[in-house]
Symmetry: C2
Subunit: 88 residues, 2 copies
Amino acid sequence: MKKFFKAVDDITRREILEMLKTKDMTAGEISDAFQISKPSISYHLDLLKQADLVISEKKGQYVYYSLNTSVLEDVISWLVSLKQAGGK
Amino acid sequence: MKKFFKAVDDITRREILEMLKTKDMTAGEISDAFQISKPSISYHLDLLKQADLVISEKKGQYVYYSLNTSVLEDVISWLVSLKQAGGK
DNA sequence: TAAATATTTAGATAATTATCTAATTATATA
DNA sequence: TATATAATTAGATAATTATCTAAATATTTA
């Protein structure tokens, strides 16, 4: 979960996740939504990938990014367990 | 949620939260569980407090820290909404 | 095949963060 | 009241991070 927490501790990366909620997008489309440079977005996408929060698939010259939600189970469980501890 | 994500993006702070799951503890007791200095723990406790994840209460010369789980609602909701988007 | 487009990699840098020691503040006790 | 204990604040520093520009790689198209 280490990498998950790092990945979501950044507003740009959280916004990328939000965008991917609606549809899969190419690196370029994602980049267009931000003011920061393409290499910076590439860097953010890499961190999201390392955290298994996104999957990338190359189609021709484009790279499509999509949400991977399987990691969320563990994190949600951890948070719920914290919450329940509070209500003891 | 900004401060929440920052707060939990650190192993020491996540461990502090884990410890507080079982019982309320003084700053000193928390500090004793780690190898790092008391001022560093104080710094981590402050970040947890800023994120509203802990509450502190002074009793005599001791400061007791306890878990505050109310913030978790929003975070869990956000994660669940991400998860559901994935299943579309 | 040459040029254009999409993306990532490399290398540099400013800002942020986690840590330390020393000093300070607040409380309790001899 | 002086000393000990608990905790935080101040100031410094090394490590990490997010960003940039320039260059490289891969693919498509003229």
